[in-house]
Symmetry: D2
Subunit: 156 residues, 4 copies
């Protein structure tokens, strides 16, 4: 299933949102944000999402020897972001399995949906290369985050 | 269907391949290429692919008022690329519709598949925002490119 | 003269400051922000600086056929920024000539100076490749900006 | 002294050169390579330079607990690189002190000098934050590299 097929996400109040502004160097010769940069936008919003939930950040994960890695990403583009646009990136946990989880992102500009994305993260032990169980308290917080909260972020 | 499910791609001789080397700044704190950079890797290989086919490059497309835009991207990660790795990025046209096409990418290191990707491009007129027909001669060349050729690229 | 030799800049209240947070993908394998990314940090702060002054942004400059280009950049690194650090980037106009100007940047973390930078911009007409006079009202605003103001930015 | 004042560099055969091609995402709305990307171009060429000399790469340096860090960079821009341009980046060691060295870069397109750069690297121990002596054999190799050799690189 592609991200755009999941209509509910668009109407619901996002569980979490991070605001950022498009930088000059992120825009390409087509006058729009280089499509690859949406991956980083989602990554930034995910960092803020786990911070808001009180989960360990990537540095703390490294120290613990267990880290989240992106196993799959999908981005669907509906309209283009441009230089100086303020973007609201909503994040919510769609599904948690034993060692992986699916995170949904929506990239909006002034209420218009520009892109939908879906990332699958796997929690793994780099030393052994094996996936490991997502801790129970993470699970609780990630699923609890689906309740509407005030948007966070860095914008006006 | 996810990219990794399409087994034929892995065994067939790629129609086109571009080689590049992982740069220092492309690797993140997890010691591996930042996942978002695979989008740019595929973009680079696609540029070389259309060059090899004799299709107009993005600058020429702009002058003509009709350009290819990425409508959707999917990347599936199997193993991690690291600093200094030589990557072979294979490109082939999977499908061409009236105004869009699906391109498949495989990112390999020394014959090991690290990632699969699939991009949907749409050919559109930025001035009107409408999709337009992919020219017949593009279609011919894009489909012809599925025959095995010598890999191109920039490496040893 | 190197940026670090100009001690006055460090003690004075900055004329303008923009705050941003270090992103994951900006940090390299040395665990610190890749040195090249400071160029973009300064560029982002410069964009906010000219916005705050009411000068035309780069898009408006393009439409007018006259744009600012970086002619020279110098960055001196004193200490390293790390993932998640909040950085305050101060900007002030050091000198304006007929068609060029020198902008000084200071990158601070919690009051500690991490880097100093100095960029020379030239105002030019891309169509002819010639430098052109910086408008009188720009000059007035740029020099007026040396008076202390409240920091702008995107932070907490 | 600014890089552009050192005329000898332009006429002499470069000691080492690395070739790369401008990528789409590296070009900004001014139709030219974003000025900040020249820092990465020089970094890439420096990596190839130390590889050609047989010096330990950054990963090996990390394992040894002693690494090169950029302490200062200067870039002077003479003309603009554009999408698809092949760039030749020459590298030579200008000076070696006890724990630091100055590296000069020239960025050329088809024999035209587009930019000059000068980086000061310091060799330091991250654990203690102190600079350490550059090994004698590095010194020998770095200075020996000023003799003309065949250009390396990734291009045609």
């Amino acid at each position: 299933m592609t991200p755009s097929e999941s209509a509910p996400d668009r109407s619901a109040t996002p569980a979490f949102a991070h605001r950022l502004r498009v930088r000059w160097a992120e825009v390409d010769l087509q006058q729009v944000v280089f499509f690859g940069n949406y991956a980083e936008y989602c990554d930034i919003a995910f960092t803020e999402f786990i911070r808001a939930l009180g989960l360990p950040d990537p540095i703390a994960q490294q120290r613990a020897g267990r880290e989240l890695f992106v196993r799959k990403m999908q981005v669907e583009y509906h309209a283009s972001a441009r230089f100086d646009d303020w973007l609201d990136i909503s994040v919510r946990c769609e599904r948690i399995g034993r060692s992986s989880m699916t995170i949904r992102f929506g990239i909006d500009r002034a209420g218009e949906r520009l892109a939908d994305a879906e990332f699958v993260y796997v929690y793994a032990e780099p030393a052994t290369g094996r996936s490991v169980d997502i801790p129970a308290d993470w699970r609780h917080r990630l699923l609890g985050a689906s309740e509407p909260t005030q948007p966070g972020g860095t914008g006006p």
